[in-house]
């Protein structure tokens, strides 16, 4: 039988169409090619290649990078008080601060990052220690923990913007990314695990692995996540609707599926969780999400009883961003234990872009 009936063809195509779009890209393919070539080169030159392995998890520093320590500070103004700094991830172009009379600031996504201070001032962080920062966390004292994913490099800066530490994070050039960081720990996604990377020693401790979460690998599995000492919150990409998965730490280091709790955003038209930010004490979690109407909203949960304690943009109603095109980016940070600060901003269109701020408290 060589002819395939039309109804069967349509059924097979419908089944294939149900799969989410292919998410990898050429960068990922090239990385795999490099890894394969490197592995083959090593195998074919056994005895001729000397592998230099540092203690711990391979602390490798390039010789030419040491001079980068002398680069000047990114910004002279000290950070303003707050539990967390509001990093304007993905901001690209000229931005007009919300503060009266502030001058527009040029930001370059991964080459010059911006932090929105509580006063409305934009502090800039010039990228040092790597060609670009793909992910960065601005710490309350002004230091930065950043990662360049293609160079597999961790960069930690001092509050004055100079490089304090650089480290090669490569494990056989497997994919890795930075989830978040504290002054002592960088939480890193690796292909099969989320690990707590001790910044001082380079030692890595598993937080959770793909087996425990029932995943094939970690890459691209979540639209947002955050972690601290006491809790891990994940927004799985494949979850129907908008729920976030709560796992209380520490988790047993094995391959058995872990028991998780689910926090329901509680709205029917939620389409995708775009950001998760735990309060530093782990008592609360703020979740930003996009609705089917392309609006953005924020909901705050209390971890202890999993109850929603606040929603949306305070006095402006539930919507933080209402019908703005093209889609803006939304960033959130904890200002105090009872106040969440946020901003939304565009990345294309007429410059300078305005920075719109909002506060949620209860």
């Amino acid at each position: 039988m060589d002819t395939i009936p039309q109804d069967v063809t349509e059924a097979v195509r419908a089944a294939a169409g149900a799969a989410p779009g292919y998410r990898a890209d050429l960068t990922d393919v090239r990385r795999r090619v490099r890894r394969r070539r490197k592995r083959q080169a090593v195998l074919s030159a056994v005895g001729a290649v000397v592998l230099v392995v540092a203690t711990g998890f391979g602390v490798i520093v390039r010789r030419e990078e040491s001079r980068l320590n002398d680069l000047p500070a990114a910004d002279d103004a000290p950070p303003e008080p707050g539990l967390q700094r509001l990093l304007l991830n993905g901001a690209l172009g000229r931005y007009q601060p919300a503060a009266e009379g502030g001058r527009a600031v040029e930001l370059g996504a991964s080459t010059r990052m911006g932090v929105l201070e509580p006063s409305g001032r934009i502090d800039t962080l010039d990228v040092v220690g790597a060609g670009r920062w793909d992910r960065a966390v601005a710490l309350p004292d002004g230091a930065v923990v950043a990662v360049n994913e293609s160079e597999f490099r961790l960069v930690v800066t001092r509050p004055d913007g100079t490089v304090r530490l650089q480290r090669n994070l490569s494990h056989d050039e497997e994919w890795m990314s930075l989830l978040t960081a504290t002054a002592d720990t960088a939480y890193l996604w690796r292909q099969t695990d989320l690990v707590a990377h001790d910044i001082a020693s380079g030692t890595e401790t598993p937080v959770v692995n793909m087996y425990q979460l029932g995943l094939i690998n970690m890459q691209g599995a979540f639209t947002a996540a955050d972690v601290n000492d006491g809790v891990l919150v994940l927004a799985p990409k494949e979850t129907t609707g908008c729920s976030v998965e709560l796992l209380r730490r520490p988790l047993a280091a094995n391959r058995e599926p872990v028991r998780s709790e689910w926090l329901d955003i509680g709205v029917g038209n939620c389409e995708q969780v775009t950001g998760i930010r735990l309060s530093p004490d782990g008592a609360m979690v703020a979740v930003s999400y996009q609705t089917a109407n392309h609006d953005f909203e924020v909901v705050v949960f209390r971890i202890a009883d999993q109850r929603i304690v606040a929603r949306g943009g305070g006095g402006t109603g539930d919507l933080v961003v209402d019908g703005v095109r093209p889609y803006p980016l939304v960033a959130i940070a904890w200002q105090t234990p009872f106040e969440l600060r946020g901003a939304w901003y565009l990345t294309n269109g007429d410059e300078p872009f305005r920075l719109h701020t909002f506060f949620i408290n209860w």
């Binding site: 039988m1 060589d2 395939i4 009936p5 109804d7 069967v8 063809t9 059924a11 097979v12 195509r13 419908a14 089944a15 294939a16 169409g17 149900a18 799969a19 989410p20 779009g21 292919y22 998410r23 990898a24 050429l26 990922d28 393919v29 090239r30 795999r32 090619v33 490099r34 394969r36 070539r37 490197k38 230099v52 540092a54 602390v59 490798i60 520093v61 390039r62 010789r63 087996y211 029932g214 995943l215 094939i216 690998n217 691209g220 599995a221 799985p236 990409k237 494949e238 979850t239 129907t240 729920s243 391959r255 599926p257 689910w262």
Partner: protein, 170 residues
């Protein structure tokens, strides 16, 4: 510890890479969907197509001369995924996907996916090659390294079983 960085110049053979890029853009999603149906796992299919595309990229001058490079990528991805599953199954029992909150396809395709899921993987592979990759019988045989007669018999049995499942779901 100080060591020089190992750098590999990917700029070599740029025209070859342009050819691969065009192939990748035209076929990655198509092969991924065919693998997703065959393997019954979207995540595993994504990983398999990435691995297979990396192998195609590494030997693109050879792969590009094949009659059907997309079929080759499909087979390599299928073989890789099969090996991966064998390895994982030795280490842990397969997860019950029905109980997992991440695996809920849209309602419109549930029936079709369920019906396909009841077929043996060998029959699903033939059906997806023919329907989704639009390969002929001969091309399917070459891609899966089986005879044309085997393609025909698997297709015949697979279609009969699939129609039965689809009708019984109605």
């Amino acid at each position: 510890m100080v060591v020089p960085a190992v750098m590999i110049d990917l700029g070599e053979a740029s025209s070859s890479h342009e050819g691969f890029e065009a192939f990748y853009r035209a076929n990655a999603d198509r092969v991924y969907r065919a693998l997703a149906v065959t393997l019954r796992s979207d995540d595993l299919a994504a990983e398999a197509v990435s691995e297979a595309m990396a192998r195609a990229c590494a030997r693109w001058p050879t792969v590009s001369r094949l009659d059907n490079p997309a079929g080759w990528v499909f087979r390599v991805g299928l073989n890789w995924a099969t090996s991966w599953w064998r390895k994982v199954r030795r280490e842990r029992p397969p997860a019950d996907e029905a109980d997992h909150p991440r695996s809920r396809p849209p309602d419109t395709a549930v029936g079709a996916r369920d019906a396909l899921a009841k077929l043996p993987e060998s029959q699903r592979a033939v059906i997806t090659c023919r329907v989704l990759l639009e390969l002929t019988t001969a091309e399917t045989a070459a891609a899966l390294r089986i005879t044309e007669g085997t393609v025909k018999s698997r297709l015949s049995r697979g279609l009969a079983a699939l129609r039965h499942e689809l009708n019984s779901e109605d």
